[in-house]
């Protein structure tokens, strides 16, 4: 069609997609297309509507068809390719589980529910194994030495007789094998044509260890003194008051939330959204690809976070470390910290221990928590660096920008010098080495009081008004 916005808008869209891929390398553009192509159709339609409304309001002749046949052809092509890829992605996620179950197979039918209830006596410290392919499971520790299961299964079927048959096949099992209690929903016996879910609520002895295996569904465990293990394709995991270690191994997850864990925490998620860890007495290792918000609080024995673009280690985290899209904020740390990232704006406050930061891109802002400093190395290839120096600190400071403004708001004895297109701030009074470096961006050292990271009131005196900067000279 002539005079249409759709062509240019598609072009812009393709540009934005590749730009997004360049800025956020952890997101694959194919994944974005596969996840969001239905919205593309909606936008396409809306653009067309706007066009027609615009033509109508200007009394211009309307096209005979709002969407030309060529366009319909293209829409069908886009739909086929995108849904094909969607199935492929989906299948890839499933095949790893050992079974293929195409979704959308359930064209007709409705869902039927069957109650589940069972209980069995067991030892004080049993090992509980939960095998549930689809559905949510909640396990709660209690004082009784028995395992009590209640809940229901949902079976999709053409009619009740079919559902009854499937229910017969997937008999619920609660078995005691020595020290082990197995909870099994046997969904795989239902076959692949009918979708089945089992949602369970399980009361277990407090001293239990729990191991959960599944494909799709959430696991929620609270109040146990043993270990907690999850192995699933796609799961939301919640754990509260866990006495032992926690191991989580997932291919995909929307949320992982753990609170008050006494042991170590080990999270492996190939693709996960949000992670929240609070009060972990042991060590924490988190590894995977993450797209949402990540929040660590009060990690006593050290934190290791590894994603495609970022590696962060903090030996003791008293406050909080928060990672989101393009930001990393760390508050109150009691041990050395090391960060290596491709692209993040980083703020670290409330620290007295050695710090090492290396970024390819992103700003760095440092606010030490005491006037006794340790060695600091902070480098970014492109981004502004700001250091709030405590007033009475001892230091051996070298702050360099190869290209950008230099601001010494600390004053003497620090010396500011302009060099070539950048500059430096240097000065020492017998303290630890502080090396700040940016390839391109401003370098600022301010006179800060001791920053108290938790309060919103900053103790830094307001900076004196800056002289207007000369316009940036563009290299010719």
């Amino acid at each position: 069609m002539r005079n249409s916005f759709v062509g240019p808008i598609l072009l812009i869209g393709v540009g934005v997609l590749f730009l997004a891929n360049n800025l956020r390398p952890d997101l694959s553009p194919w994944r974005l297309i596969v996840d969001y192509w239905p919205y593309l159709l909606i936008i396409w339609g809306v653009v067309r509507l706007i066009e027609i409304a615009w033509l109508a309001s200007r009394n211009q002749p309307l096209p005979k068809r709002g969407v030309s046949s060529g366009e319909w052809g293209m829409i069908i092509l886009v739909s086929l390719v995108a849904s094909g890829m969607w199935f492929a992605f989906d299948a890839k996620d499933r095949i790893r589980g050992g079974r293929i179950n195409l979704r959308g197979l359930q064209i007709f039918g409705e869902s039927f529910e069957y109650p589940v209830s069972a209980n069995v006596n067991c030892s004080k410290n049993p090992r509980i194994i939960v095998e549930n392919r689809r559905g949510n499971v909640r396990l709660v520790g209690s004082d009784a030495d028995q395992v009590v299961v209640s809940g229901h299964k949902t079976i999709m079927g053409l009619d009740r007789t079919e559902a009854d048959k499937i229910n017969e096949r997937m008999k619920f099992e609660l078995l005691v094998q020595g020290d082990q209690v197995v909870i099994r929903t046997n969904q795989e016996r239902a076959g692949t044509d009918n979708r089945v879910d089992s949602d369970l609520e399980v009361h277990i002895p407090k001293g239990a260890s729990v191991e959960c295996r599944g494909t799709r569904g959430d696991f929620d465990v609270s109040n146990i003194t043993g270990n907690f293990e999850v192995n699933s394709e796609n799961a939301g995991v919640r754990g509260q008051d866990i006495g032992g270690n926690v191991r989580i191994d997932l291919r995909r997850s929307d949320i992982i939330r753990l609170m008050r864990v006494k042991g170590n925490v080990d999270v492996k998620g190939a693709r996960a959204d949000d992670i929240e860890l609070d009060e972990v007495t042991g060590q924490v290792v988190v590894e995977g690809q993450f797209t949402g918000d990540i929040d660590f609080r009060r990690i006593d024995k050290g934190l290791r976070f590894i994603s495609e673009a970022t590696t962060l280690t903090v030996e003791r985290l008293k406050g909080r470390a928060h990672l989101s899209d393009g930001d990393l904020e760390v508050e109150d740390i009691l041990g050395p910290m090391k960060l290596r990232s491709r692209s993040k704006d980083v703020r670290v406050s409330g620290f007295a221990t050695p710090i090492e930061i290396e970024l390819d891109r992103g700003d760095i802002e440092l606010s030490p928590g005491s006037s006794t400093l340790s060695s600091i190395i902070a480098k970014t290839s492109s981004g502004a660096v700001t250091m709030h120096m405590p007033e009475n600190a001892k230091y051996d400071l070298e702050a360099v920008t190869r290209r950008g403004d230099v601001d010494n708001l600390f004053g003497s004895p620090l010396e500011r010098r302009e060099e070539d297109r950048g500059g430096s701030i240097r000065g020492k009074n017998g303290g630890p080495r502080i090396l700040l470096e940016t390839g391109r961006g401003s370098m600022t050292v301010t006179r800060g009081g001791v920053m108290s990271s938790r309060s919103d009131v900053s103790l830094v005196p307001p900076a004196p008004p800056k002289a207007p900067k000369p316009p940036i000279v563009v290299e010719r």
Partner: protein
């Protein structure tokens, strides 16, 4: 102003496209499967056709 018949005819394609996109989006979001909701497309098409005839009849 172009006639309302022409307007409805022109708007039909985009509206169906939007409906299609919405149904697939609902499917992907884990709601009702497209394999169950597709008749809505036919209904939308029918309603728009009906509107067109009724408008045409008045003129």
């Amino acid at each position: 102003m172009p006639s309302s018949v022409a307007l409805i005819a022109a708007v039909r394609g985009p509206l169906i496209l939007i409906t299609l996109g919405t149904l697939i989006a609902i499917d992907h979001a884990g709601g009702l499967r497209f394999s169950r909701t597709w008749p809505i497309l036919i209904i939308t098409f029918g309603v728009l056709k009906l509107a067109e005839y009724m408008r045409g009849g008045q003129q």
